[in-house]
Symmetry: C2
Subunit: 326 residues, 2 copies
């Protein structure tokens, strides 16, 4: 069995010398096991985190085989469900042959090419499907933006959003990719983030601003898109390619832990909710009247004390609600 | 009528000389109008954005009266609903007397001190109420963290979350504030963000990590809390005091526009959703089989091409799903 192992931990963008070709003994077929000759290996951006030990839960040591999905054909089977010649998908790692227990295998449909089990009909396609259903929830005539527009996640997100009636704008690197996004994947437009006029071009492609954004990259692209969101926009935070190859995290609020926690951040502006003031008063007024809900006040006296009281508020020197009594 | 106007646009933290005392003619009482002698003026952090012209929609010019909420007593009325002596709340600005149309006035309940209409039972209380109901949704035994813990928003958020059975940890500046948060507002603990051991103390106060965070400040405090979120945590982005007094925005993804757009950012990790693979295949397999959903593949050949193919993926040089065919 030949395999690709980790030779050294990459610094920055990986180099081919970070990897090494391994020649491993062919494992015996244990009871209930299945031997697979691999036909396709999946390469995915999340592996960059794995080989630095930064991915959720996963981490590998020097000399280990690089993990990842594979598609192959059964060449030997000790399990009744699997026959020689069956196409399967499994987590195999970067190797040309794998022996796995039968319950770790997924059967491939015959109606599509087997490689799709690693892309549009595999983990990336599922990512897109869930992101569109749960987070983006596109509606007709809305504008949805997708970064890494040609990848198996972005490409599937875009086509699902198009089918929901949305206008879909891609973001990709380079003119060739942007042309293919429109011609092959049905994007209404695709903007080159490497272009000097990226921001202006994105604005031009999104004249009604942005209702949903599927983010695979983070960094400047995310920041620019956040600046063009419509009211109540939804953003799926799914990838941070921009920082996978950095040794140190970029400055500013780090959204990596937000992805890891599957957390939700929501902007709150009270102006939208004045119609709920009566409900709030129904709930809180009796509690405040009975001092079951307490409050602190920081009271300055006299109109001319107002500027100084505001300066204190800005310095955080007040304790509780800042008021001026006249 | 005396009022406080804007003398010059503040640079950084405002100074008292940025403001000026104005002596304005007392306006006549128009038909249906009400004259109010103000008793309390509200000072709120959002005003820092207003006096720099950066707040949503609002902006003021040099010489203008600073806007803001006020509470006062009716001293003259041309409207049947309002009598001399009634307590009212309104948007009055920083002045000692105001004339307003009757439909801009809110009547105050007699059961609580009038000043509460600017705090716990006013706009800040409504902010807290909506944020807890719509975004934090605290459940018993969950850990909720609140920054600007003693303010009228934070203090109300905390007590509503306590009433829902959550454990509530505040973040404030200085030992005095932290003590008052626990003694007066019922926080289970309150951590001083100025303390050298802020991160360690926060971790100690949140041994089960953080299920909900009400953010009034942004900056480093937000970043630290994001690093300690539990799975499916909720974060209400409500204020950015940390950057209100900065001329230039800090580096990294800017969450100000996320607040302005009332947008929702949600972390997506596909590992949680493998049970939905059959649903995804039901939806997508026929479409892919009929090429109604298309995809792009970037195929390298041979196991030894894998490292180079991965390097290309990391450089963004691939077009479509990166695969190695064996």
């Amino acid at each position: 069995v030949r395999a690709i192992g980790l030779q050294r931990f990459p610094a920055g963008i990986p180099e081919t010398d970070d990897f090494v070709l391994l020649d491993l003994p062919s494992p015996p077929l244990n009871a209930g096991g299945v031997r697979i000759a691999l036909k396709f290996l999946s390469l995915d951006p999340y592996l960059r985190g794995v080989i630095s030990g930064r991915h959720l839960g996963h981490a590998i040591a020097l000399g280990d085989v690089i993990p990842g999905g594979g598609v192959g054909v059964v060449v030997e089977s000790d399990h009744a469900d699997w026959r020689v010649g069956d196409w399967v998908q499994a987590e195999t790692g970067w190797r040309d042959e794998a022996v796995l227990p039968a319950d770790r295998l997924r059967r491939l449909p015959a109606s599509v090419p087997p490689s799709t089990a690693l892309g549009v009909l595999g983990m990336p396609g599922l990512t897109a499907f869930v992101g569109v259903q749960d987070i983006l929830r596109p509606a007709p005539a809305q504008t949805i933006v997708v970064s890494a527009a040609l990848g198996p996640v972005g490409g599937t997100v875009a086509q699902l959003c198009k089918r929901a009636g949305a206008r879909v704008v891609g973001i990709a690197g380079g003119a060739t990719k942007c042309r293919l996004a429109v011609e092959r994947l049905g994007y209404d437009a695709c903007i080159d983030y490497r272009d000097d006029h990226f921001v202006a071009e994105l604005q031009r492609a999104c004249p009604e601003r942005i209702d949903g954004y599927f983010d695979n990259v983070g960094g400047r692209v995310l920041d620019v898109v956040l600046g063009h969101l419509n009211l109540h926009a939804r953003v799926a935070l799914c990838g941070l390619i921009d920082q996978y190859n950095r040794a140190e995290r970029p400055p500013g609020p780090n959204l990596g832990p937000v992805i890891a926690a599957r957390a939700t951040l929501t902007g709150l502006v009270v102006y939208d909710h004045f119609d709920r003031l009566p409900h709030m008063l129904d709930a809180l007024l009796p509690l405040v009247a009975e001092r079951q809900i307490d409050y602190l006040e920081d009271i300055s006296h006299g109109l001319t004390s107002t500027p100084q009281a505001f300066v204190r508020l800005m310095r955080g020197d007040n304790i509780g609600k800042a008021l001026v009594a006249l």
